[in-house]
Symmetry: C2
Subunit: 209 residues, 2 copies
DNA sequence: AGAGTAGCTGGCCGGTCGGTCAGAACATCG
DNA sequence: CGATGTTCTGACCGACCGGCCAGCTACTCT
């Protein structure tokens, strides 16, 4: 386990540059896809030499990891309080779906970039091995556990499989960046409402209409 | 529009070679991902020089197109009769979901490869331009039309958006190849049943339990 | 002024890619 | 045995990749 350098050791300039580069990486990946997002292209976008990226990051892996970390943190900061504010199972589930998609609506490039990265299999751990299995899919696992908890508490019907439902809900959410690429006029808010209804009907007990 | 050469002009050897190469491409893409599936690697799998691929196909684009065409045709041949055999809206929807996933279960590499290709944006038309918009998503559009038809016919509830539901259903289906990569023990049949229930509950009229 | 440091440039390296090509290998027929 | 057409090999090409580094610039400190 390598210890990260103290944040205090980072120059003001360096912090700004790193953020600028991460932003350029996000926009470039979102625009041309991960496969075509070379260091040269990312550097070109902000008018710097690609050597600068090597100077501020240990390599492309390091840059990509920072992109994912930044986006995931921003997403969690947005979604978590909105979900936690709800109390009942159905309202929590709806808040989860709606806030996930609202974040995507307001940060399209963020999500497109991260989805591009994750599906390209380019995201690696510190050790260099590729993330796989349950590691990548923390979001699906957490959702599954939440569903199971509410189900055990009697707030949801008891004849669905939380695992399968979690996969389907995440799939319905994660497909949106791709859908945005296919159809720039895709109405996220409308979709969010419809999907929330779908999974609400699928989980709601018959005696709680 | 370029006319394909007559099939009769293809040697017996050539037909066999082309199929062998397409098969090797499918397995290679499914195994190492599209980005790492170079012509050299595909050729190596069947112990030939990569020049052979250039000899039988005009280029990598041509080979990839053939892969997609072959798999889509196989999938349609499997799914279409099973869906057409059903009569009511709910049973048709269930047959659609179950047969889609059954085909994936029996042809994992086929589906993994095609999903890899489509999401990598490498699939091109004859004209060379990338497929986008509604072109790629024929499957989603057809499903949407089918849903709308049954909805108009009163077999489904009338307060859901066929467009949004079609996107969600296709997402729940198309995520499976990726899920298989994450978890080799993923139970497709169980998932198929659960998802069919989810979307059945989301579309079924209250007065038809 | 001189020394030191952070930040950056631009060219170079080894490697992989898709694609090309001269010619070998092979089967078939006169 | 040639002659001919098909199939294949292996070397090679130019392009692009991530990474590397000598050296330039600009700023700070003594």
């Amino acid at each position: 386990m390598v210890i990260e350098p103290e944040p205090e050791q980072r120059t003001f300039t360096e912090i700004a540059r790193r953020q600028q580069i991460v932003g350029a990486a996000i926009d470039t990946i979102a625009e041309v896809g991960y496969a075509q997002a070379s260091l040269a292209r990312i550097a070109e976008r902000i008018g710097i030499s690609k050597g600068v990226i090597s100077y501020h990051f240990t390599g492309k892996d390091d840059l990509i990891k920072q992109v994912v970390v930044d986006v995931v943190e921003a997403g969690r900061n947005y979604i978590l309080p909105r979900v936690s504010a709800e109390i009942t199972g159905p309202s929590t589930l709806r808040a989860y779906i709606v806030s996930n998609l609202a974040f995507m609506r307001d940060h399209r490039n963020y999500m497109v970039a991260v989805v591009e990265i994750l599906r390209s299999g380019a995201f690696k751990t510190d050790g260099g091995r590729r993330l796989d299995g349950r590691e990548v899919d923390v979001a699906t696992r957490l959702l599954q556990e939440q569903l199971a908890r509410f189900q055990a508490g009697g707030e949801f019907r008891d004849d669905f499989d939380p695992s399968a439902l979690a996969v389907a809900i995440r799939a319905a959410i994660d497909v949106v960046p791709h859908r945005l690429v296919l159809d720039p006029d895709f109405d996220i808010d409308r979709y969010a409402g419809e999907i929330a209804n779908v999974f609400d009907r699928a989980t709601r007990r018959e005696d709680t209409p």
